[in-house]
């Protein structure tokens, strides 16, 4: 039998359902793997251990009793530490929430429990999802399994690293400006940002409410689709949740086919600042798609160049308000004595990291009386123009493609003192957050100059998430055939025994 930790989620679910392996064995194997490698990877902030085994035994009892099992029965899922789950802490990577145990369950983790998934632990992240490397975590960075000296991307870097390091076959992340797709790309795995409103935000601690989108990580396109489908669907607890059927992503992932599909290459997402090795792999991916029968055209989205500045007004504005509640009055860290005002100020000064403070100040400024129109208001207008760019593009093609991020994984510390360089990591991913459409990152090879993974971004119109998986599965199949093995088996940071 294969090592249980190298099996895909689809294989594990089938094996557990068939009774050839127990959920407890699957869970134990992953806990053992975490014990073995997480000292080096540092993907997890909290491992559920006994609790995960208890969840697994419950699945095994259900199976023994002949009860119907969910789609993910017995499959471990790592959870970004900003989902609320009963029984484990939720720090959001921040010292200000150290020790806080949420008293309620997020809609998505609740659905995963229903589907039989085993919530194996909480993963590291940039503090409150602000960052592209996990270096902004209050608990130290995670490490990229391809090269432990490099970042796993972010903000959902812990989740991406956990999946890439075989500590879990699946993981949950959130994507506000690229926080799923960019770490997926630099860790050589699959990560998707569903349509905004397609996955519930209830119980997902907010960074920027109008952009935050929970989504899946997996080592294969089908695995990501399985998690995508299990976590999605209308939630009456989230007003912005869309009341529409979940796009058929699993069916699409099983039938990768791009023959006749119209694919648009966004010319604006290339050029200066893009690593040559990234562009080579991207070009190669387009050739693969063409060889599979896709009709590829180039087109321009002229307002995408304003996406990054607009994002850095909208996201900080919303975060400055969302993070106001962390004041030491009701939960989490409290420092200082004196008046309520002094305690609030001291708690926030002590509890938040530099990047969070920077964004709170940016947002506070952008929303201030006299500046609102010039900053927040103008950024919202840009947002409308970007939505219109997408609408025009999707009038001509079925999906858009671009690199996921301009470079491969950078070294830990390399950009830590240069926020602008860090912000550029999200250049290609931000437009889909501003527009609320769906996008995915699929591995498309290793950059020649550093041997590190590169991701292909596919973007689809809102609620057409299935197209991402259709294209993703086709690309994955073609490349796997060409390479003779899955890309991740080449990861050198963690040699598997």
């Amino acid at each position: 039998m294969d090592d249980l930790t190298t099996m895909t989620a689809a294989e594990l679910a089938a094996a557990v359902a068939a009774g050839s392996v127990s959920a407890a064995e699957v869970t134990q194997a992953h806990l053992d793997r975490i014990t073995a490698v997480d000292g080096a990877v540092r993907a997890f902030l909290h491992v559920n251990g006994e609790d995960a085994l208890a969840q697994a035994r419950a699945v095994d009892r259900k199976r023994a009793a002949g009860e119907p099992l969910g789609a993910l029965a017995g499959v471990p899922v790592a959870v970004k530490d900003l989902f609320t789950t009963i029984g484990s802490p939720a720090t959001c990577g921040s010292k200000i929430l150290e020790g806080w145990y949420p008293p309620y369950e997020s809609t998505i983790t609740g659905r995963l429990r229903e589907a039989g998934a085993i919530l194996i632990g909480k993963t590291n992240m940039d503090e409150f999802a602000m960052g592209s490397s996990t270096e902004n975590s209050g608990y130290g960075p995670s490490h990229n399994p391809w090269d432990l000296d490099r970042v796993p991307g972010g903000s959902s870097g812990g989740s991406a690293a956990a999946v890439a390091a075989y500590e879990a076959p699946l993981a949950l992340g959130t994507d506000t400006g690229g926080s799923i797709r960019q770490p997926a790309a630099v860790c050589g795995i699959v990560g998707a940002k569903p349509t905004y409103g397609g996955s519930s935000r209830y119980g997902v601690v907010a960074f920027a409410s109008s952009l935050d989108t929970p989504g899946p990580f997996g080592r294969t396109v089908l695995d990501a689709a399985l998690l995508h489908e299990a976590m999605s669907g209308h939630d009456p607890m989230d007003s912005t949740s869309i009341d529409a059927p979940v796009p058929p992503v699993v069916a699409a992932a099983r039938h990768g086919d791009v023959a006749g599909l119209r694919i648009g290459v966004v010319t604006d997402l290339s050029g200066e600042g893009y690593q040559p090795g990234v562009m080579s792999r991207f070009t190669e991916a387009i050739e693969v798609l063409e060889s599979l029968g896709a009709k590829v055209t180039e087109l321009s989205c002229p307002h995408f160049k304003y996406a990054l500045p607009a994002y850095y007004l909208i996201a900080p504005s919303e975060c400055s308000s969302n993070l106001a509640r962390f004041d030491g009055m009701r939960y989490g860290l409290r420092t200082g004595t004196g008046s309520a005002e002094e305690i609030m100020a001291e708690t926030r000064a002590a509890g938040f990291g530099a990047e969070v403070k920077r964004r709170i100040m940016l947002g506070t400024y952008a929303l201030s009386s006299g500046y609102y129109d010039a900053y927040y208001g103008k950024a919202q207008q840009v947002r409308t123009l970007i939505i219109q760019d997408f609408e025009a593009a999707f009038g001509q093609v079925d999906v858009l493609v671009s690199p996921v991020t301009p470079t491969t994984a950078f070294r830990i510390g390399e950009r830590a003192d240069d926020p602008m360089a860090m912000y550029l990591a999200d250049l290609c991913t931000i437009p889909s957050n501003l527009a609320g459409n769906a996008a995915i990152s699929v591995p498309c090879g290793l950059a020649d100059e550093d041997g590190l993974p590169v991701g292909l971004q596919v973007m689809a119109p809102p609620l057409a998430d299935d197209r991402l998986y259709r294209v993703g599965a086709a690309v994955e199949a073609a490349f796997t055939t060409r390479w003779g093995h899955p890309l991740l088996t080449e990861a050198k940071g963690l040699i598997r025994s």
Partner: protein
């Protein structure tokens, strides 16, 4: 040194406006399923949403939108076909999220009016807007001298109130009321309270804080046409205080201006005990609330058909009722105001509905019953007697079975819990003696005992009969029908 109200009005024209917060009487809170009931143990009607726990999200209570639309329609407002909630950002421990979900530049209802009756004439108060927002928690500051956060040893916060739906009803500035400004302000709040109560959208209890007013006041030098700086007076939490706050602020501002000072734009606090306002926060220290559209909520777009439907279910509003009652009861507006101010409108109308004449109903409720209520320190509507019972008393008087004196005793009996009017009449034996033969014995006795009076009557001095009537009433214990006694005496001595 002070300026009296009369002196102030000789030099200045007052302008005022009101912002009224009203807690809506929905069963559950505005964005979650917690109960809104008043008076529960602290922090028992709370959940992750109204506590603003990380990750929680609001979902709008449809009923709160419906209630706000009812209010908007009753105040003759336009109802927005599309509007949004906004976040009002400021830090305070009783605000779970350190922002309040409110409405800013896109209120649900705009541009209406409310007619109020003052001193027999109608004054139209413009309504700027009606918007929805969530209430905050309630702080209790312990250990300080003032009950304010400054100087307190510690503070306790009760979040039961956090998230209860509020509407804020903002008037346009009300000009031209002159001397009557404080009275008009009070009449507006009174009328608004009656409208809200009639709509059934709030229990509008100012003493429990379910209706709270802020009063804006400014002065203009008579004839100058230029409005001065306005102040906003908070904590105005009774009808009487509304009147006093406007009046006191007019006097204060007049004094400042007369002394060569200037009015600063500021928040002032009204003190119920002293009836004066003191300085709060000034404009210079004013907060920048950094309003922006609430990204966790989708816009509110009430279906016009739904709004029309709500409009059809509005009850008869106080102004329509006023017109109807004035007409059908043949009242003057002043008489109507007297009834309304006594809080007896519902009772009188129900008494008329139960068969009494409007005149009788008004007589009992404004007279005997108003006195009893006053003695007991309660509203007339709270007296333990029903309009139907009052109508029965009036009927008994009308038929001659009771006279006024006996009727008052019957009312006493009902109020004392002795039963229905008929039961009290039976129990206390209060029926008028209507049997002539029983009366004649008493009359003969009275004539015999008052021979001189009897002679005067025989000689045509009919007015003297009163003394004999009194004597007969005395011997019958007040149970005789006085007009009949008089008739019989005059027959006897004819």
């Amino acid at each position: 040194m002070t300026v009296t109200y009369e002196e102030a009005l000789q030099s200045y024209e007052p302008l005022f406006g009101l912002e009224t917060h009203v807690e809506l009487g929905t069963t559950t809170k505005m964005f979650c399923g917690c109960l809104t009931a008043f008076g529960a143990e602290p922090n028992t009607h709370v959940c992750p949403i109204c506590l603003g726990l990380p990750g929680s999200l609001p979902v709008v209570n449809r009923r709160s939108i419906e209630f706000a639309i009812r209010i908007g329609l009753a105040l003759n407002c336009s109802i927005a076909s599309w509007c949004r909630f906004a976040r009002k950002n400021y830090f305070y421990p009783d605000m779970p999220k350190n922002f309040q979900i409110s409405q800013y530049d896109e209120p649900l209802c705009t541009d209406g009016y409310l007619d109020v009756l003052v001193g027999g004439s109608t004054i139209r108060v413009g309504i700027e807007r009606v918007h929805l927002e969530e209430d905050t928690g309630k702080s209790l500051h312990v250990g300080g001298a003032t009950g304010r956060i400054q100087g307190a040893e510690y503070s306790l916060v009760d979040y039961n109130r956090a998230g209860i739906p509020l509407v804020e009803i903002v008037t346009k500035p009300v000009p031209g009321t002159g001397y009557l400004a404080p009275e008009v302000a009070k009449a507006y709040v009174t009328e608004l309270r009656d409208v809200l109560r009639t709509l059934g959208v709030s229990d509008v209890r100012m003493e429990e804080g379910s209706m709270r007013c802020d009063v804006n006041t400014s002065l203009s030098v008579l004839g100058s046409g230029v409005w001065g700086t306005r102040t906003e007076t908070k904590n105005v939490n009774s009808l009487r205080s509304v009147e006093r706050a406007v009046r006191s602020e007019i006097e204060r501002q007049a004094f400042v201006l007369d002394s060569g000072g200037r009015i600063i734009q500021e928040t002032r606090h009204f003190h119920e005990d002293t009836g004066v306002t003191t300085s709060g926060r000034s404009k210079e220290e004013a907060q920048d609330y950094r309003y922006f559209p609430e990204p966790d909520l989708v816009p509110v777009a009430p279906d016009p058909a739904w709004v029309t439907e709500i409009g059809k279910t509005l009850p008869e509003l106080p102004s329509a009722r006023r017109a109807r009652l004035i007409e059908s009861w043949s009242l003057s507006e002043l008489e109507f105001e007297a009834l309304r101010n006594a809080g007896a409108l519902d009772a009188v109308e129900a008494t008329v509905a139960a068969g009494a004449s409007p005149a009788d109903a008004r007589k009992w409720w404004l007279g005997e019953l108003a006195r009893k209520a006053n003695d007991a320190g309660v509203d007339v509507s709270e007296l333990p007697i029903t309009p139907a019972q009052v109508a029965r008393v009036a009927e008994l008087v009308e038929s001659g079975a009771l006279n006024d004196k006996l009727a008052r005793q019957v009312i006493d009996g009902v109020l004392d819990g002795e039963g229905t009017p008929d039961e009290v009449v039976a129990e206390r034996g209060l029926a008028v003696v209507s049997d002539d033969s029983a009366l004649l014995a008493a009359i003969d006795e009275a004539i015999a005992a008052n021979a001189e009076v009897a002679d005067k009557i025989r000689n045509g001095k009919v007015a003297a009969a009163g003394a004999l009537v009194g004597a007969v009433m005395k011997t019958t214990g007040g149970k005789a029908d006085a007009p009949r006694v008089r008739e019989l005496i005059l027959e006897r001595l004819a």
